[in-house]
């Protein structure tokens, strides 16, 4: 499927692998793809991001991602849902960090972390981003898969990355508006969203 990826989309995939390696994660996750997207310059995806984000956008985004990581990768919506059950996530994080050190919840619970990874595998979320990007491109009848499709896929997944992006005004709707204009927002987007 990678033959249809543009140079920028490939660079995002490769960049995600290096971001994952840099932080010593056991696999490539959606968050690493977002960081790689933020590295791009002059691409369709970076055009959308710079049009929508204010100055200091990247630093603020990275801060929010780091905070979510510290909560064990749980989003704010997750924390709210848990508080509905009477579970105070921040209290749990504080106690775990007190006993096991700062960032104890960060390293992931998948068990695969820290294994000798000759080839860093893509995690389920990151794979899902790639699959969704294909679908979005197909729904838009785009022959190529660019980094803008990867960005749209992340905003559609509704994970931590999407939540952090939405807090900075980057949503599926706003990205399609910037890329395809007000009319383009309906073109194919609904089909990709429904699937």
């Amino acid at each position: 499927m990678f033959e249809r990826f543009t140079k920028d989309a490939r660079a995002v995939v490769e960049g995600a692998v290096s971001h994952s390696g840099r932080v010593g994660a056991g696999s490539v996750e959606e968050e690493h793809m977002l960081l790689a997207l933020l590295d791009r310059e002059g691409s369709r995806g970076s055009f959308a991001l710079t049009s929508l984000g204010e100055s200091g956008f990247r630093a603020s985004l990275e801060r929010d991602l780091a905070e979510a990581r510290r909560r064990g990768g749980l989003s704010r919506a997750d924390a709210d849902a848990l508080s509905g059950l009477g579970i105070d996530l921040s209290e749990i994080v504080a106690r775990i960090e007190e006993a096991h050190g700062e960032g104890a919840l960060e390293s992931g619970g998948r068990g695969g972390n820290g294994r000798r990874a000759r080839r860093r595998p893509f995690g389920q979320e990151a794979k899902d981003v790639l699959v969704r990007a294909l679908r979005i491109a197909a729904a838009r009848r785009d022959r190529h898969i660019g980094d803008e499709h990867l960005l749209l896929a992340i905003t559609l997944r509704g994970g931590v990355a999407a939540e952090v992006l939405a807090d900075h005004g980057v949503t599926y709707e706003s990205v399609t508006r910037v890329l395809y204009g007000p009319s383009g927002a309906s073109g194919g987007g609904a089909a990709a969203k429904a699937s």
Binding site: G72, L74, L82, L85, H100, L105, R110, G111
Partner: protein, 69 residues
């Protein structure tokens, strides 16, 4: 006014999305907590057998999940 807000809140509690999201979040949190505790037990010299017994799972299961770290 407050009555209407209460009603809205109670209706929200019955929204399956919120309940399901809480379950999913709890499951992910549980995985993270398990990893932290298993790591800590290993660092303190616990055997896989001892850890498995506390978790109520087989030694193989816990070793397969966290071994070779």
């Amino acid at each position: 006014m407050t009555e209407a807000t209460d009603l809205a809140e109670r209706a929200g509690d019955r929204d399956p999305r919120i309940g399901l999201r809480a379950v999913s979040a709890l499951r992910r949190l549980l995985e993270q907590l398990e990893a932290v505790q298993v790591r800590s037990a290993r660092n303190q010299g616990w055997s896989w057998q001892e850890i498995a017994a506390e978790l109520g799972v087989s030694r193989q299961a816990v070793h397969k999940k966290y071994g070779r770290q």
